[in-house]
Symmetry: C2
Subunit: 350 residues, 2 copies
DNA sequence: TTGTATGCGTTATCAG
DNA sequence: CTGATAACGCATACAA
């Protein structure tokens, strides 16, 4: 690897001059020298050493991208089709703006913090991180941070987030099911924090508009590993008899359930309606095609990077709380039913 | 950020001693000093500056992972379900072994080379790179490289590759179709290089065993963007009348075609059998579930990283040419048909 | 057992 | 317009 010093020696000039030419500070250098240096630069295929640059400039040009790895979901976090599309968009955007992407997936926040600090990362993108972890990170890392899909009380700590109209998504889907006559709807979520929780709020709101109270036991939490465990699926299968519709917080769950149920003779949507969320590829190719809530992961990723890089370059964040639009996509996994349940007093049994 | 020097000053000792303690060269330091330093290390949450380390040690602890971005496929390369699962495994393995992962997806090999060199990456993982590009990279980058899914003449340049029994995969699937009575089989590939080509070799071999010559026009190249273009799909649809089976080089293509055809009234597998390759999630959840060739992306990724890191640490590569096993997975997308075509002379028409 | 000095490649300051 | 020189944070050879 040829260095600036090497080249300076070759040309019999000082390294400062070479450096100046490299940085286009051509006003301070004579035309003749500029040409000489540029020619050599070409010949040597000079590539700067970024470690050295980072050291002097206290800026690494690295953007850290951290994913909380929820164990058990798919083979790994990246395998989530929604995540992988978004990550691809993030990578492309980071690279096209002249930065480098270092990616971490971990449960261990301390390790994450060490990694960020040790590379003196210029900016940080946090995906699916809970508020407590964010606070911990913020206490040690002082450069710009942008969150994707985080929810937290703004009064505790302000932050830049790129998210989704989750509440509206939950609302519209529920509304659709209610309009189609469904009353016994199970809400299937990963957990009761973050996006899933907000979608549930929307769910409740739609029910409220129909004058129905949602019941706690209709909220079914699916831990990711349950999908792979026969006994858990069996249990959901048994539960499904109490419902006319399963409303899932991701296409992935919806499709996995659909496949499992179908293999056991349940006809979708004749016997049970199922809906998804995200509108990734599997939603379109499954049979029946999934009624779901569309969002745009590419846009989400790009926007988050855009905000982050603006902040890295010293601008104010263009927006603190972005909520990208959702759109209800009606396909074939929901059947119209004659409303019942409410009239029979099912919802007031306790 | 507290530095070694800072801490040395606080303790009134030299930075060498602090450095020694950090690196566990405790034999050269008195017990008392060790304790003093370790205590301070804790208190200050000392994190080393990796740029500085890279500079002195000429080793960055970064592993570069490069994907050739074939434009138009999915939203981006990472969105390929096979790729994303493998990438997740790669990331986990790199991190768990104490290295950092920097990821690049690009078409531009020059840019890739610059990125690798500028960070002085310790090792490089190349995924789906053609031989010419590999040669170019090798000519500039002298540290260990491991390829995934590459094929090239070994006599030109030796290299470490982690691949798949592609030929056997192509062979077994074709054999299966032939056994089921299919004779008019279209082979759908992305391109005619790399893994797809080798799978085609296996395809031809199976045909040869049946005493049938494959015809060039049965080899349909699908450029990734065709999947999204109505006219191309229409064309494939028209072509499909000439065949009883479509054998695809990925589950993705298989499922996309299946969906398109189904929407136009073609019954799968009654009217047309379709097979995939990879056995990713969509193969299991589609309807009919896909008959496909299984491979293990997690293992592939992990193994490649393992080989690479051994080489980085100075060992000989454990193996030069690894071919992970494939397994035919028979599901519901292939129907048995009465063999015809060969007898009718279809294959000798020209 | 501890400290001093030097260099890694780059940029920045400042003097010529 | 050009060139010494110092500094970034760390590791190491060598001296004490």
């Amino acid at each position: 690897m040829v260095t600036i010093k090497d080249m300076a020696e070759m040309l019999g000039i000082s390294s400062t001059t070479v450096s100046n030419v490299i940085h286009g500070k051509t006003s301070e250098v004579s035309q003749k020298t500029v040409e000489k240096v540029e020619k050599l630069l070409e010949e040597c295929d000079y590539v700067p050493n970024n470690s050295a640059r980072s050291l002097t400039q206290n800026s690494s040009k690295i953007i850290g991208v951290a994913l909380k790895s929820r164990k058990g979901k798919y083979d790994n976090v990246m395998a989530d089709p929604f995540m992988s599309v978004m990550l691809g968009a993030i990578e492309a955007e980071i690279r096209s703006r002249g930065y480098y992407m270092m990616i971490y997936t971990t449960d261990d926040i301390s390790e994450l913090i060490r990694n960020i600090l040790t590379w003196n990362v210029d900016g940080l993108l946090l995906i699916g991180i809970v508020h407590d972890d964010f606070v911990r990170i913020k206490s040690r890392y002082k450069k710009p941070v942008v969150l994707i899909d985080s929810y937290a009380p703004r009064d505790i700590m302000n932050y830049v987030n790129v998210g989704l109209e989750d509440e509206r998504g939950g609302y519209e889907m529920t509304r659709h099911l209610l309009d189609k006559g469904h009353r016994r709807i199970a809400f299937l979520a990963d957990n009761m924090e973050g996006v899933d929780y907000i979608r549930y709020i929307g769910h409740q709101k739609a029910f409220a508009e129909y004058g129905i109270r949602t019941r706690e036991k209709d909220l079914l939490i699916i831990r990711p590993d349950m999908i792979e465990r026969e006994s858990s699926m069996q249990e959901l299968y048994t539960l499904s008899r109490n419902y006319t519709a399963f409303m899932c917080c991701s296409d992935y769950y919806a499709v996995m359930l659909m496949t499992y149920f179908r293999d056991r003779g349940v006809k979708i949507p004749e016997d049970l309606s199922i809906t998804g969320f995200d509108d990734v590829m599997i939603a379109r190719v499954s049979l029946p095609a999934l009624t779901t809530v569309h969002q745009n992961p590419t846009k989400k990723g790009r926007l988050a990077v855009d905000y982050l890089l603006r902040m890295v370059q010293g601008e104010e964040p263009p927006e603190w709380d972005t909520k990208l639009p959702v759109e209800l996509v009606i396909r074939d996994s929901v059947k119209a039913v004659t409303p019942y349940g409410n009239d029979e007093g099912v919802f007031t049994e306790e």
